[in-house]
Each structure stands twice: as structure tokens, then as C-alpha cells.
Symmetry: C2
Subunit: 428 residues, 2 copies
């Protein structure tokens, strides 16, 4: 019998920790990112899980041959070195090889920028992500999610997990699967389950995997992506959800700024300053765009122009558009006056990143709306039942994580914001 | 144009907040959980998203008729009342109905215990979850996840999101789907992707949806459930992972204790005191059980008996069993001496709740192991490639969230630990 105390876990190495150890000997586990010469000495760039730390072999260095791509345990003295990253350098005394690659990298990961095409980088995803710029995106993505969860938990929201396998609702672009003896599809959104959950938790959120059979290869679409969703009960109007989303995004930007200073500097990421977000109605938006009122939704060019308008006129990188016609909105969105709906889109840097609204809480209205929009009401009976037995007035919002991160980091293709992307061609 | 400041979000009502408002008038949004008589007054139990708060109509009460199941906005004066839950009572001055149910509840949600069968409760899930005991489980589940994420983030782990749609690997019990013109399956575990991610992040975790086509109706299995997974690079041995898991579980228990005092009291949940966890090898375990050494794994009865042994002999509700034979272990687990593997299971209150081990980081060894175990190596080529280009020594662990919560809360069926469970019969 042994006894596991949980008291001897291995701590992470950080530049701050090294800086505090100047003059001391340290042990550091890392991958050999690059070797070269610096002055008269052998230069070894050490890639940890987050940083690339400069080291040079000491005159009395004793250790294994240092190969690029090898994982090593290095020992050395930390020195002040203002010209090195983070102002420190390690003078290596010895190294021990922990793991050697069987093959050279197919990509030049130690170059300042990965020069290979996106297609090549995706074909060697576990290697291209070893590039400091490629992986930095996912620290930021993690931080966005952390900010999302932290803010909502503090506001009394419960993090739930809802099903991804659901009955076919008759909507298009769903991925079908066979579930024992039944036909099923993969969920496009956790929204119906979140709204049901408002009946017992008032406030819920989920970061859900969602699926769409996108039969085209746009730079803005994925077949499997992550949606940050929330639903809230007892709202007085659409505006309560927009207020919440504004405060939430402000907290997310602050979280990324605090947690990912290293990555935002690496990528040159410009975080948005979120103060007041301007909001125009869909009808006002069409006026601004000089378009006629027969249009039922905004197209990508409209989004781009409205963002430029918000930036020039109000100094905001974000703009809400509210009260869309019902045609392109989910069936559960509440009607407002004059044939519009209690809905909104949030645009950021030329792209829609979130949408939401106030939902109908009337059972009879909801059933009528579902039937009108051609939904298979049998497939969503439990959702309709939740309304039959009563739900408070409620609203919801959802944000596409990869789209937001793409815009935040200034990426050109959404695939760069997904660790292992799936599209109609890629399944590896 | 309007302007959304994000400064007027609606705050959650808590007993602590009410206690601090004794003598003041408050506004509270809630569902009418139960009505009755208390002394000479009309009693109204108000169910918020977390609590049930006692209120009585004041003599000068003016408001709508108060119906059970209605969602209302109530105004009243907070009074000290030692006999009421949380020591407070609201003297209602007025109420406004926000939403009325179209139908009475099919279950007796206001009874102290839901007396209907599990089958009935699941058939009316959005109603049965309105019962304070049923929903309390999911506040605890959220808190377990929060503790898991918080601890690992503090230790430098990155939260990643890996694909759920994967190529068929030849393993059994996978749910098949058609992905455009390709055959695909739903993932049983995010482990392979997490191990690949060790190459660029060193330490990663994910709370992943996982899928198994369980063709039976046991109280311990679901077809769609949540797995808390982690992988860590640069481990020196199996024990580093077990140390981490012990510290992690201790933090989770502390998080639940801090965040869910209300729910653990409601459910009478006995949280484990995690100090040292005893650890025996599989061979020692068979000795303890008096079983012969031809057995390749522990069965549920063994797990139960080993837990009783750990409790009696070491006063621990948890016990590690290590070094299993390779037969029932994942192909990637590293071999140890004498035909065993660097693997472990963690048992808690008679059930396996987690497993893990040190993984092979040698490319050639990994390929040989994959072929030997009948895996379609083409389907996992990107995983094998990550090893070809080098990974540090690494290990991993995974824990079934619903199983852990089931044991934590003393539930009899795992379906009670899943908000909207899926099994071979239920797809609603």
C-alpha cells in the first residue's frame, strides 16, 4: 500500500518565476524550439507550454546533444539579460533528453511566422499549433470562455449541460445519425433546453458544441463549433438581455487583457474598449444603409458598413441592431409591434458575433409560431410542455466563440480559431 | 439610436440579501411553489432559481389572485422569522402576475419528496426539475465542474475544445453518423486530442460530451454523458497524475462545500474529507479480495469490497488501484514490468469514478500497440503523427461527471445526475 497525499504536484515555469530566481540554478522542462549561435555560445530556445525562453550553453556545459524538436529537462543559472525575451536568459549547465522525435517537423515552426498555407498547416495541425502565434489564439479563446463563465456564475447563472443528440425537428442543415432504432440529428443550438431550464434555475448558460452541415467552404463557417449560450428569466424587455451582454463582453475583454497579456502582445491583438454600445433598429439600419425595407435580414456587406458607421459616428467597434422581421429569426422570438420581433444581432468589426432576444413565454402563442414556421412540433414536445406548465418571461443570447476569437485576433479564416476544425472536407 | 451601457443588469435575490434587508420593502420575482394557510394568514412559498422563500399575505394585501405555478413579481416587507427557512419571511403587500401556466403540473413538485417513479419524472423532466431536491443535484454538478476548471487553470492547464465527430476507429459501441460523403462516429473520449495538445500546451483539460451506444439499461450507464479529462506533459511517473488528481479532488470537494452549502444541506450530502488516498496495485487488490490472478479487471462487486476495505483500514472513501493488466486498458497506456501497465482506477463509495495513467510517448511503441489492439491506425494517423514529431512523456486522467455526482449526492440512478438523460430508449 502506498499513500497519495496530493501535495507534490509539479508547478508550471513562468517568466515571472524565473525573473525572481536570477542568480539561482533552475530546472526547466521544455521542447528545443531552435538552436543557433549567439556570440561565441550555442543558443538554445526553449519552448514551454506558453513561452519561448532563451538559453545559452555555459562554457562547462555537460549534457546530451541538443536536437531541435527534442523534449528535454535543462538545468542552468538564470541571468538578467535585457536583450532577451522577458529580460532573462538561462546559462545551461546540463540537459537530459526526455523524448526524441522520430522525424523532423514538416513545417518551419521556429520561423517568426508560419509561411506554409492554411491547408498545409491544417494537414499537420498538431505541428502547426507548436508555433507560438498559432497556439496563442487558443489561450485567448480559453480566456474568453473563462470570462464568460466567471461573469455569469457571479451573476447567479448555472452552467448546465444539455443534449446534443436530438429528435429531427425538420430544420435544414442538420447532421443526421441513427440512434439505436430511431432517427436523430445533432443539435444546432442548446437554446430550447436552456429556455426549459429557466423554469427551474431562472438563469443558465452553456458553452455547447453545435453542428451544422455547411455544404460550402467559406472562411466564416465551420460544421462543428462552439456556441456560448445563455437564457435568463424575469426580463422586463429585450433590453435586459442587451444590458447583460454588454456587461458580459466588457468583463470578457478585461479577462483577456488580464490573463493573456503575453498572447495579445505576440499577436498584436487590439482588444475592444467596451463602454456604451450604440443600438439601432433594423429599420433605422436600412435607412443608414440607404436600402429599401423589403429586405428581411442583414447581409455580410451590411454588417461591415454598419460597423464602420458605428465606429465613425460613435467611436464603437460594436453595434446592436434590433427588431428584425420574423422571417429569418427563430420561431420562439416574441413579436413586437408593426410586424417586427423582439430580436437583436450584435455586430463586431464587420461581422455578426451574437444574436438573441426576448422569447415568447405564452404556450398558445408558441405552439402557433412553431407550426407556422414548419417545425415538427412532436419533436419539440418537451420544450412546448415546459411552456404549458409555465415559464417566466425570458430572453436569451448566443455567441459563436470561434467567430468572436477570429475577429478579436484579426484572423482571416475561422479555421485558425478552431483547434481541430471540421468542414465538409476535413474529418481528421 | 439608443445606447446600451451594460450598467443596469438585474441582480439575483439571495437569502443573505433579504436578511440584510429586514424591515425594508423588497421586490422579488418567483414562481408560486405552494399556497396554504399559516395561522390566520395566507401562506405563499416563493420558489426562486435557487431557494424557496416563505411569505404571507399582509392584512392590507392588494394584488392578483395567487395561483400555484404562476410566475409573479411580489412586493413586501422582510421580517425576521426564526421558524421560517433562512430565518426570514416576507409580508406580502402586493403581487403582479407575470406568466400563468396553461395546465397544472403533472407531478407534485411542492411535496417534500417527489413520490412519482423515475420513469414518470424523466417523462416530465422540465417539471420534475422544479422540485428543490431534483434541481439541487445540478447546482452541485456545476460546482464540481467549476472546481475542476478553477484548479486546473490555476495550475497552468489550458481549457481546449476538441472534435466530437471523428473517423471510425474500429472500436465497438460507437454511435455512427454520415458526415457528408464519409462515415464517421461520435467520440467516446477526447483523450487522443488532449494528448496531441500536450505537444504545444504541456497541460490541457476539457469537459467533453462523450457518447457510447450502451445497449442495456443499467443504473450506472448513459449513452451521452460528460467526461472531465486532463492530460499533462513532463510527468516523471504515473504517480504525478495520481498526485494531481488527489489535489484536484480535494479542491473540488472544497469548492462544493463553499458554493453549495444550501444544496448539500437540502440533500443531506456527505462530502468526502480527502486527505491521503490509499493506493494498492491490481495484484495486491486481488490478494485483498482473495481472488486468483487470472482476472483482467475489477468488477462492480470488487470495487465495492475494495472501498469497504479502504474505509475500514484507512478511513478513506477513496482508493487507487494501479498497474492493471493491458487487456482492458486503452492501447496507449505505457507498459510496466511483469506484463502490467502504468494505469490506475480511482474508486469512490463502491464505484470507479476515474481512470488514467502514464501514456507511451514512443512513436514506434505506440504504433505497435495500436496495431496489436486492432485499432484502425489510418483513422488515428494525426494522433500517431503527433508522436512521430515528438511529445514529452505524458499522462492523463478522466472522470465521469455524472458518476461522481451520483455518488456524491447518494443517488440511486445515474439518470438523476443528468439534466436531460439519453439512453437506448429516451431521445426526448
Amino acid at each position: 500500500m502506498k499513500s497519495i497525499s496530493g501535495n507534490s504536484t509539479v508547478k508550471e515555469i513562468t517568466p515571472g518565476g524565473l525573473k525572481a530566481s536570477v542568480g539561482c540554478e533552475v530546472e526547466i522542462n521544455a521542447c528545443v524550439h531552435k538552436t543557433g549561435r549567439l556570440g561565441g555560445a550555442k543558443l538554445v530556445l526553449l519552448r514551454t507550454g506558453r513561452y519561448v525562453i532563451q538559453s545559452v550553453c555555459a562554457k562547462d556545459f555537460e549534457g546530451d546533444t541538443i536536437t531541435e524538436g527534442a523534449y528535454i529537462c535543462a538545468r542552468g543559472i538564470v541571468k538578467d539579460e535585457p536583450r532577451a525575451p522577458y529580460g532573462i536568459e538561462i546559462e545551461l549547465k546540463s540537459t537530459k533528453t526526455l523524448s526524441l522525435p522520430s522525424s523532423e517537423y514538416p513545417l518551419r515552426v521556429s520561423n517568426r511566422v508560419l509561411e506554409s498555407t492554411l491547408e498545409t498547416n491544417l494537414a499537420h495541425r498538431s505541428v502547426s499549433l507548436r508555433h507560438p502565434l498559432a497556439r496563442a489564439v487558443f489561450r485567448i479563446s480559453d480566456s474568453v470562455k473563462h470570462g464568460f463563465e466567471e461573469y455569469l456564475r457571479n451573476e447567479g447563472f448555472v452552467n448546465v449541460r444539455t443534449p446534443e443528440i436530438i429528435r429531427p425537428t425538420g430544420e435544414r442543415n442538420m447532421l443526421p445519425l441513427r440512434y439505436f432504432d430511431k432517427d436523430a440529428v445533432l443539435s444546432r443550438s442548446p437554446q430550447l433546453y436552456l429556455q426549459m431550464s429557466v423554469g427551474f434555475f431562472d438563469r443558465v448558460f452553456e458553452s455547447a458544441a453545435v453542428f451544422r452541415a455547411e455544404k460550402h467552404n467559406s472562411a466564416r463557417h465551420l460544421c462543428e463549433y462552439e456556441e456560448l449560450d445563455l437564457a435568463m428569466g424575469y426580463i422586463r424587455s429585450l433590453e435586459d438581455i442587451m444590458q447583460l451582454l454588454t456587461a458580459l463582453l466588457r468583463h470578457i475583454a478585461e479577462t483577456v487583457s488580464r490573463e493573456c497579456k503575453h498572447e495579445t502582445e505576440l499577436l498584436g491583438t487590439d482588444l475592444p474598449q467596451i463602454t456604451d454600445i450604440p443600438s439601432v433598429t433594423f429599420r433605422e439600419a436600412l435607412d443608414i444603409l440607404g436600402k429599401d425595407s423589403t429586405q428581411a435580414d442583414l447581409d455580410p456587406t451590411d454588417a461591415d458598413r454598419l460597423c464602420r458607421y458605428a465606429s465613425e459616428k460613435y467611436g464603437s467597434e460594436l453595434i446592436f441592431v434590433t427588431h428584425f422581421p420574423p422571417d429569418k429569426r427563430p420561431f420562439y422570438i416574441k413579436d413586437s409591434t408593426d410586424g417586427f420581433t423582439e430580436s437583436f444581432d450584435l455586430l463586431f468589426r464587420g461581422m455578426k458575433i451574437a444574436s438573441g432576444g426576448q422569447n415568447t413565454h405564452s404556450y398558445t402563442e408558441l405552439c402557433a409560431k412553431a407550426e407556422r414556421s414548419g417545425i415538427n412540433t412532436k419533436a419539440i414536445q418537451p420544450y412546448l410542455d415546459a411552456h404549458k406548465y409555465g415559464l417566466p418571461p425570458h430572453g436569451s443570447a448566443s455567441m459563436g466563440l470561434e467567430r468572436f476569437v477570429m475577429k478579436l485576433c484579426g484572423l482571416e479564416n475561422i479555421r485558425e480559431a478552431r483547434l481541430f476544425p471540421r468542414d465538409m472536407h476535413i474529418l481528421d
